[in-house]
């Protein structure tokens, strides 16, 4: 749908009434949602929706989401609705949810933007956002680190001893356990999310027990559970590989110097310390960048379970690419810094 050169082009996102994204949370929904007769801009927390006169859809304008309702779209409501209606038969409702379209409005001067500008603008906005210490961003980053950090700590507490045990001892069922571990290392996070969801949901086997220390769905604790399940096989697997890479004679030598079995295992772990740090980095990398499980289990509730990755998904689907890019850059930078810090922590060991 290219516009005339003189036309003003707007990008809008279409939400069908029946498929209003639950990701916005209840309080985000237009107040008179479902009132098909009304048309005009609905103000909600982040978006301004335009309800189709009788079409059962809502249109969110991209440029005006934060300042004021998009008067232009409001003014051209019939036109926008016609465009969207025209598109509608091509796709099923569900496929349409959240799709973005360019719509021509009036004959004003064209203010179209190309993707390159979008990326650049996103980049600058990212810098500005980080620099300004935006409280929303701060909350999201804080929660991301809280969830992934605690999950990583639990993974290390379970995974490092498990990896050492598998690498250093021989027992019945060891091979089976290793196979399971390798499977776990490549497990799709979204399947883990589904599994944890079913377990913790109120009708699930764990959720229905009503035990207070079992976390409820859509809480940070549930996200920690899911991320722990994702990352501990990685920590254990890489630790096992690192421990097995240590000279097998070392254990005998250490025992000959008077080590107890626990001291011998510790000495081997310390000798394999680079590999252990790498296992932690791998575990952390897998969960900080993971969307599927936290989305399913956490629900991406603003201010409560919204983390960087789910926020990127949301902002992208809203068409708010600036914010999405800003969040993406923050995510990248933070992951980089954490890995750098971990490597520096065990510092001089890397000089060989």
């Amino acid at each position: 749908m290219a516009c005339e050169r003189s036309a003003s082009e707007r990008r809008v996102t279409v939400w069908w009434e029946t498929t209003m994204p639950p990701v916005f949370g209840k309080e985000d929904w237009p107040r008179s949602f479902g009132d098909h007769g009304y048309h005009g801009a609905y103000e909600c927390r982040r978006l301004f929706f335009l309800a189709g006169r009788d079409a059962g859809f809502f249109v969110a304008c991209h440029r005006c989401t934060r300042a004021s309702p998009c008067r232009e779209i409001e003014r051209n409501c019939d036109r926008v609705c016609a465009v969207v209606r025209e598109l509608r038969p091509a796709l099923s409702d569900h496929a349409y949810q959240g799709t973005t379209h360019r719509v021509c409005l009036g004959d004003e001067e064209r203010r179209g933007e190309d993707t390159i500008n979008e990326i650049l603008r996103g980049f600058w906005q990212a810098i500005a956002l980080i620099g300004s210490g935006d409280p929303v961003l701060r909350d999201i980053v804080g929660l991301t680190f809280h969830v992934s950090g605690v999950a990583l700590a639990i993974s290390a507490i379970i995974g490092i001893p498990l990896g050492a045990l598998l690498g250093l001892t021989r027992f019945v069922g060891r091979r089976l356990l290793i196979s399971l571990l390798y499977t776990g290392m490549g497990f799709p996070p979204v399947v883990v999310g589904l599994f944890v969801y079913l377990m913790l949901s109120r009708s699930g086997p764990l959720g229905s027990m009503g035990v207070p220390w079992i976390p409820a769905l859509f809480t940070p604790a549930a996200m920690i559970v899911a991320q722990t399940v994702i990352s501990f096989p990685l920590v254990a697997g890489f630790t096992m590989a690192a421990v097995m890479g240590v000279d097998p004679m070392l254990r005998q030598q250490v025992r000959a110097l008077g080590a107890t079995p626990l001291q011998a295992a510790t000495a081997v772990l310390v000798e394999a310390r680079i590999g252990v740090v790498v296992s932690m980095i791998a575990g952390f990398g897998s969960i900080i960048s993971e969307v599927g499980a936290v989305m399913l289990v956490g629900g991406n509730i603003e201010g409560r379970t919204r983390v960087l990755t789910t926020a990127v998904v949301l902002e992208t689907r809203k068409g708010d690419f600036d914010l999405a890019m800003a969040l993406g850059i923050v995510l990248l930078a933070l992951a980089f810094l954490v890995n750098l810090a971990m490597l520096t922590l065990q510092g001089r060991s890397f000089d060989e």
Binding site: V254, A256, L257, G258, E352
Partner: protein, 253 residues
């Protein structure tokens, strides 16, 4: 050391060690005397290293009894840590931790200290003294991975000596080294034995080294002790035909 001074450090009676039904060691009778240097010679793969593992209580014998300063370690019995901590082994290959020389030498002391970091009394002095003995006190802060083969083996020796063990077990400690380092290490072993009266059991397939260092020499073949005699008698008047062949150098190994 122990209260009553028995003349024997170790007494072995009918000791058998096998792995997966293959018997690798069968010692009818062997005494290791307090304060001696005992050399065990023989070709590769006759159970010399297995015997050292038994003497270091790293493994238990399948049959027979192994007495250490009067305390018996039965077949497949529990091996008390206390016994293991009075003995230590230096292996053919110096297996050092990827840390500084000082940390390596202090390692055995730190193991004995356990979780009591405040009882570090004299640790650093003892480490310095042990490094002085092997002539490496200038390398205290160097990383162990950067040492040459001879230096690494001397660090391994210092790491064992610093524990002041009752028995020092040496498993072909100079097999991979140049003549200079061999003579250095032999001097260290000799002085340790003479000054600290440490009992030394030396496994080697170098009969010249055995002759230079040992008070008594034993020949192991196919897991059993063929002959055990005073060094002079062993080399000059061997009783067994096989000893004679080994000493002459007829035995291919």
């Amino acid at each position: 050391m122990s209260g009553t001074l028995l003349p024997s450090m170790y007494e072995l009676h009918g000791v058998v060690k096998s792995y997966e039904r293959r018997t690798v060691l069968r010692i009818a009778e062997l005494d290791v005397l307090r304060g001696e240097v005992l050399a065990l010679v023989g070709p590769s793969g006759v159970g010399k290293s297995t015997l050292l593992r038994l003497l270091n209580f790293l493994e238990a014998p399948n049959e027979g009894t192994l007495r250490f300063q009067g305390r018996a370690v039965g077949p497949d019995g529990a091996m008390p840590l206390a016994l293991r901590r009075r003995v230590t082994t230096v292996f053919q290959r110096p297996i050092l931790l990827n840390r500084t020389v000082r940390t390596n030498v202090a390692f055995g002391l730190d193991l004995r200290r356990g979780w009591r970091p405040w009882s570090a009394n004299g640790r650093d002095d003892r480490v310095a003294e042990a490094l002085e003995r092997v002539g490496l006190n200038s390398l205290e802060r160097q990383r162990a991975r950067t040492l040459s083969g001879g230096e690494a083996q001397r660090v391994a020796l210092a790491r064992a000596m610093v524990l002041e063990p009752d028995v020092l077990l040496l498993d072909e400690p100079t097999a991979n080294l140049d003549p200079y380092n061999v003579s250095l290490i032999e001097d260290i072993i000799r002085s340790l034995n003479q000054e600290k009266h440490t009992t030394v059991v030396l496994v080697t397939h170098n009969i010249f080294q055995a002759r230079r260092l040992a008070d008594r020499v034993g020949l192991l073949l196919d897991g059993s002790l063929v002959e055990l005699a005073e060094s002079e008698a062993f080399f000059d008047r061997p009783r067994d035909e096989r000893t004679r062949a080994f000493v002459r150098g007829d035995m291919v190994y």
